[in-house]
């Protein structure tokens, strides 16, 4: 062995990935400072970003995995995970849709995914996907005209470092929780949005996202800033089941709405849930939080969660500005062995702040669905109001629904309402539909979609249609 070889072996952890100049290489499993440095270096990040990551890593080392959620899974070995997974080489991808699992294609068909997006979603080699680049370019030009910045997080770190430095971690601090700290240390990529003062973003930031940024890796980082009086609607995710090799996903999303600004953030999450016995499947441990920093601002979360083996997710709003508004509309579907512990936190700080929570949980198979929500009214939040509606629907006899509402009210003028229901799809409802000629499976879909209506109507139009189809696919085989 030559001395050069020995040296590279000794320094392996530090050097791997940026000394060897192979773009497609992944880092070996394990996490230490060297890995954090390697990730930062590979992305050509400025010094501040590396420093930020390293501090997060050191904080993470002192933290413990949260155990309070109502979910069960074997311990995660954080040293068995590779923290920089290079993109799959085109050689390993299917060359065309003909090589893709027909079952997957069938699902796309049922979901009504446009033809030109199917190849991309199925992981077909990029050069085989026609026209997606030019579509993206057109969008980008249109956004540039009005001054909207919409780019990958990595690009923002390099090109808009002032904004990133100012806002990153200002809603979800590095040490907010175990997974947020981990994400802060090793985040792979994600999206960055800045809407300038008074601008109404001319399009849903969704179409673009779906075509281009679908594959952002397992530690996704998103930062959206809506400057004074601006407005943006952002759509994350995709109804199509996405190809993914990583089991652990720990994303962080931060939203900042300045005075009079409005952010509408819609999510459709459909990661692989594992098979009917719970084998495989993604662990989705996400921290999402919005800060209504200015007066009269508004942040609205809408989510449709059907995928993942385990979901741990609480999109929240900090209602700091006076008269600010927070909303949370959620549909969480679990089937087979899936587990979801999801909900929201509404923290009322400003005067006359208002929040609305509508949560619809659907459980089928042997799955467990948890709603966990906190409404907190601080002493200075005069006239705060909250309305919470939390409904659970059970399909079959082996599933479960659990509700954990927390309320901390420190101002006597607050008005807080909480309504909760648990219901089953009754044999009477099914028979009624079937007597009208509707098949049992269609009847279940019809009833479930009715149950979710209040949430679906909050979704962007074309997406609401897909979300309905998605629910139908997710509940296939739930009855009978």
């Amino acid at each position: 062995m030559t001395s050069e070889n020995i040296e590279s072996l000794v320094n392996r952890r530090y050097e791997h990935g940026f000394v060897t100049d192979i773009a497609t290489e992944s880092l070996p499993p394990g996490l230490d400072e060297g890995v954090v440095r390697a990730i930062s270096a590979r992305k050509n990040e400025p010094e501040f970003m590396l420093e930020w990551r390293l501090q997060a890593y050191r904080q993470w080392l002192e933290m413990r995995e949260p155990k309070w959620a109502h979910v069960h899974y074997p311990p995660i070995d954080f040293n068995s995970i590779s923290y920089y997974a290079a993109p799959i080489s085109d050689d390993d991808r299917p060359k065309s849709l003909d090589e893709v699992d027909p079952k997957l294609l069938e699902t796309y068909e049922k979901l009504g995914i446009p033809l030109h997006e199917r190849a991309k979603l199925a992981g077909v080699a990029v050069d085989a996907v026609f026209d997606s680049v030019s579509v993206a370019t057109t969008f980008k030009e249109k956004l540039f005209e009005v001054g909207v910045i919409f780019c990958s997080f990595s690009e923002a770190v390099r090109e808009h470092s002032d904004l990133v430095q100012k806002y990153l971690g200002s809603v979800v601090p590095r040490r907010d929780n175990f997974y947020a700290a981990l994400n802060s240390a090793v985040f792979s990529d994600g999206s960055f949005v800045y809407i300038p003062k008074g601008v109404r973003c001319p399009m849903e930031l969704s179409t673009y996202f779906r075509i281009n940024a679908a594959n952002t890796g397992q530690f996704e980082r998103t930062l959206i800033i809506a400057d004074e009086g601006s407005h943006v609607s952002y759509l994350e995710g995709c109804t199509a089941p996405m190809r993914d090799e990583n089991q652990l996903h720990a994303a962080v999303v931060e939203l900042i709405a300045l005075e009079g600004a409005e952010i509408k953030y819609s999510t459709v999450q459909n990661w692989y849930p594992g098979d009917e016995n719970g084998v495989g499947g993604i662990y989705n441990f996400v921290t999402k939080r919005g800060d209504c920093r200015g007066d009269n601002s508004k942040i609205s979360w809408t989510q449709v969660e059907t995928g993942s083996a385990i979901t741990w997710k609480y999109p929240s709003c900090i209602l700091r500005g006076d008269n600010s508004v927070g909303e949370f509309y959620s549909v969480a579907v679990v089937n087979n062995m899936q587990q979801a512990d999801t909900g929201t936190k509404m923290i009322h700080i400003g005067a006359n702040t208002r929040s609305t929570i509508v949560s619809k949980g659907i459980s089928a198979g042997r799955a467990q669905n948890v709603y966990r929500g906190l409404v907190k009214v601080m002493p200075q939040a005069h006239g705060a109001r909250n309305h919470t509606q939390c409904d659970s629907l059970l399909i079959g006899k082996e599933c479960g629904a659990h509700t954990f509402p927390y309320m901390e009210i420190k101002n006597p003028s607050a008005k807080i309402e909480h309504e909760a229901t648990t219901s089953k799809i009754s044999a009477d409802q099914l028979f009624y539909c079937r007597q009208r000629g509707i098949s049992e499976e269609d009847a279940v879909n019809l009833i479930v979609n009715g149950f979710c209506r209040e949430v679906f109507k909050e979704l962007p139009m074309e997406f609401a249609v897909e979300a309905q189809a998605l629910l139908n696919v997710s509940l296939e085989g739930a009855v009978g």
């Binding site: 539909c433 009208r436 000629g437 269609d442 009833i447």
Partner: protein
């Protein structure tokens, strides 16, 4: 059209139908009367295919085929309609949506394409006018928060849209005020047709003042104990069900 032969059925451990036979032809209106617990609703549910009701004997032949082999939705698509005694609420599901899904399921079965949305709405509004229903009902949740009378009118609306071959109306008259009863009866009368059979399951004579039956059958303890024309209903009204029971036992 419908041939029920020596039908026996139970719910749980309780035997309800104990050898019931009935023959219904196209164009006829039959009234089935009888005291509570005599098996009227059970007969309706068994024909519609509710699997809470177990068939333990006998046959049901519909349009020449064994009806009992078919699933409830297949029976519906073949033209069997049950107007429910207690129509169930399906919260959040748009009434028009259910109605359209039902119409399209039947059309598909007949090899036809989906109904045109505008045609559908136009037709639904026409039928609703006849039944004295506010068009707003189309956009409400199925039976959600409907009054008793509204639910029954909604059943008749569904029947009118689906144009069944065999309509069984299970106590559609119960709980209706006189205006609702007249509206429902008018809806039923409009559907009288040489190709269609209607079976009215009812406890009282009242409905039959407005919808004149060709045949009246009296059920007791799971069997038809008397059949006759409309005068039987009047006689029954006068003498009470005890009279039938005695006649059956005597």
């Amino acid at each position: 059209m419908l041939e029920v032969i020596n039908l026996k059925s139970r719910v749980g451990d309780t035997e309800i139908l104990r050898g019931l036979s009935l023959s219904v032809n196209a164009g006829e209106v039959h009234a089935i009367m009888g005291p509570n617990g005599s098996g009227k609703s059970t007969l309706a549910q068994v024909i519609a295919g509710n699997d809470d009701y177990v068939v333990t004997g006998g046959e049901v032949i519909y349009k020449g085929n064994n009806l009992l082999d078919l699933k409830p939705e297949e029976r519906a698509r073949e033209g069997i309609f049950l107007g429910f005694q207690y129509p169930v609420e399906i919260p959040g599901v748009n009434n028009a949506y259910l109605l359209k899904a039902a119409v399209n399921a039947k059309r598909k079965h007949q090899g036809l394409g989906d109904v045109d949305a505008f045609e559908f709405l136009k037709l639904a509004r026409e039928k609703m006018a006849v039944l004295g229903m506010d068009p707003k009902f189309l956009n409400r949740g199925v039976n959600e928060g409907f009054s008793g009378g509204e639910k029954k009118r909604n059943e008749i609306l569904q029947m009118a849209m689906l144009e069944p071959s065999l309509a069984i109306l299970d106590e559609t008259d119960s709980g209706l005020d006189i205006d609702a009863l007249k509206a429902v009866a008018e809806g039923v009368n409009k559907l009288r047709h040489p190709d269609r059979a209607i079976v009215l399951v009812t406890h009282y004579q009242r409905m039959l003042d407005y919808v004149e039956p060709d045949f009246v059958h009296v059920l007791s303890e799971g069997k038809i104990v008397r059949s006759g024309d409309k005068t039987l209903a009047l006689e029954l009204e006068e003498k009470g069900y005890e009279w039938v029971r005695e006649a059956a036992n005597g």
